[in-house]
Amino acid sequence: MSTPTTNPLLRAWYDKETRSVIIQIIAAALIISFFAYIINNAVTNLAAIGKDINFGFLWQNASYDINQSLIEYSSTSSHFKAMIVGLINTLLVAVAGIFLATILGFLLGIMRLSSNWLTQKIAYVYIEYIRNVPVLLHILLLYGVILNALPRPKSSYNLNDTFFLNNRGLQMPSPEFESLFWVVAAFLVGGLAFSLWFKRYAKKIQDATGKIYPVGMISIGAIVLLPMAVYFLIGSPIVWDVPALKGFNFKGGIVLRPEFIALWLALSLYTAAFIGEIVRAGIIAISHGQTEAAQALGLSNSFILKLVVIPQALRVIIPPLTSQYLNLAKNSSLALAIGYMDVVATIGGISLNQTGREMECMLIVMAIYLAMSLLISSVMNWYNDRIQLVER
């Protein structure tokens, strides 16, 4: 190695920068040839059995039914529509899951730091149990419990003749809006706008005079109480479509199916355990000196949390939280195991199989998950940038 060499190639190799360029070229060449190889392989093999790559099938009739659809869909709709139905179902469970996991996760994180021995241990045991069992098992377990522990439709748990719980799901009344409802809607939007404005206004006053308005209370009044009062004043312009047992199943209302409930709860409970640890770490990361300093200023405990601890902890929490959200969204594809009709089950499953368009369908599914993940990351990055320390 140390013997000086006259070979120009070898000398280039010993030069750090040239070497790194060479290595990069080789790496790029290898990666390109790898992809060229697999793409070529796929195309050749498809050609050998006489298949091409063609997305035209998307406009043909899907010919199959889907049990959960938030948009109009029937077996005469196209495969494209089936894909949209699946996509909406994926988004539904992902968003609902992120929502519930976040609430539970923050709760767990705070419980873990509680000075109450029991509270702390409960959270600890929960977190350790949940995150050390694969999420697929949680899904299957919950699904099995729902199917076997809950009664059949005829002997449903009945709440007030409006809510029914059985092993076909949770049947709930669905709202049907009458024409006068727009008045309530207008008050709702107005209340929202007012609260946004009032929050800014209150901050300005506080900055100028130090006077603190009860922003939260006033906002609730504007967004919730006032529209509610209006709603009752003009005679409750919503009729509820209440589910009722007809024949085999409940008709009317909306239903959260066992597949949705199992997937939603399992994903939320599982991800919440991880979020709990992230929240705990985030809060611990804020040095105790900060809290003491705030106490010395005479701030109340809730103000210390709100103004000193949480804003700083969020900076630590957001990046790992993002990856938990991404995990949850991607894990939702485990829907496959229990037949929840998500995007993998529709376009990546039934459509794929009925049309034999494996390549096309898998490309679509991959593109959808990629887009979804990028969307979540960019929203979280935007939020992260917003709460970062503004350095002056």
Binding site: L9, I26, A29, L30, S33, F34, A36, Y37, N40, N41, T44, N45, A48, I49, G50, K51, S63, Y64, D65, I66, N67, S74, S75, T76, G144, L147, N148, R152, N167, R168, K246, G247, F248, N249, K251, P258, L336, G339, M341, A345, G349, I350, L352, N353, Q354, T355, G356, E358
Partner: protein, 340 residues
């Protein structure tokens, strides 16, 4: 740099071999000395591992027959379990050489999914099973029911058509395998289980008291079940086709598991039998197989009738009568092309 050269040449070479792959399936099977046969994940009577782990059933026997014809040994089969959804991909991607999995021949599967179907070996139709306690006696009373269906099957398409045509609504509950369908049905997630009538017979036989479950009288579709191979290898498709035909013809001619090898080693005075068992003529050679290809297949699993009786017939838990699956001259529709 030499190393890098080697690596690059290696990559280029593998790329080239991959392109040049796609040798004939027959050669591949011979080289591996094993037939990879795509079957169900487990449907008693058709293909399911027994207590000792040996695959048994109607479809499993057809796999063995092909292996015996090609490799001379009916046990040289590797069974590849597949769901309704994965079976065609598995066949087309080369994970299997041949498919025997309760598979209905349809135009789109033949043309669009690029399969070559072998002759029909089981005439079936889609039916419904309900718990007797439900008090339903016709499929037309099923409006609003929850129905368990296996995805990736003709079943789910027929079901959509049937309910639509009859102006009824239903809640489809999609499941992957027969086992899952059974579990969901037992748990009451669905009121009705629908699949091929043969599959219902097999599933119903699993209940402690099968009389608690009713198969409704309506058969809503035609399900001609048969084996399949990939498009584009005519020789291999021919082999599959003629093994099936040979098994059916053997029943017609009285060639059985017990006498097949005997007949093959002595030239008898029935030229039809001689040609089939290979004591005369060059049928095997034309297919690229040995002269006793058909005799080996029959000796391994028996003729069509023997396969049927052993796995799904009236004396098995499935109790499926011969019906359409009888020979043409015995009231059925089995009419195999002659071996000549």
């Amino acid at each position: 740099m030499k190393l890098i050269n080697k690596v690059l040449t290696g990559v280029a070479l593998t790329a080239m071999t991959a392109t040049a792959a796609q040798a004939s399936t027959l050669e591949d099977v011979r080289a591996a000395d094993e037939l990879k046969c795509v079957v169900t994940t487990g449907l008693a009577g058709f293909a399911a591992p027994n207590a000792a782990g040996r695959w048994e059933g109607f479809d499993a026997d057809f796999c063995r027959a092909v292996a015996a014809a090609v490799l001379g040994d009916g046990d040289k089969v590797k069974f590849v379990p597949s769901t309704g959804k994965t079976r065609f991909t598995m066949l087309n991607s080369g994970e299997g050489d041949i498919l025997f999995r309760n598979t209905t021949e349809t135009l789109s599967r033949d043309v669009d999914l690029k399969l070559s179907f072998l002759p029909v070996n089981f005439y079936d139709g889609q039916g419904f099973m309900v718990p007797a306690s439900l008090g339903v006696s016709s499929a037309l009373e099923l409006d609003g029911a929850s129905v368990c269906i296996q995805t990736g099957t003709t079943t789910e398409l027929n079901l959509a058509d049937y309910f639509r045509t009859n102006g009824m609504s239903y809640e489809p509950v999609a499941i992957e395998t027969n086992e899952e369908g059974f579990t969901n049905y037992v748990a009451g997630r669905c009121d009705v289980y629908t699949t091929d009538a043969s599959g219902l017979a097999s599933t119903r036989a699993k209940f402690e008291d099968p009389t608690q479950h009713l198969v409704l009288p309506e058969i809503i579709s035609k399900e001609p079940l048969g084996g399949a191979v990939r498009h584009g290898d005519d020789q291999w498709a021919d082999i599959g086709k003629w093994v099936v035909n040979a098994l059916i013809n053997a029943e017609e001619m009285g060639i059985t598991q017990a006498n097949a090898m005997n007949l093959a080693s002595n030239v008898g005075n029935n030229p039809g039998i001689n040609r089939l068992v290979g004591s005369e003529g060059t049928m095997g050679e034309m297919l690229g197989l040995g002269p006793k290809w058909a005799a080996q297949a029959i000796a391994a699993v028996g003729n069509y009738g023997e396969i049927y009786e052993r796995n799904v017939g009236p004396n098995t838990p499935l109790e499926i009568g011969r019906g359409l699956n009888n020979l043409w001259n015995k009231g059925g529709v089995l009419y195999a092309a002659p071996i000549r």
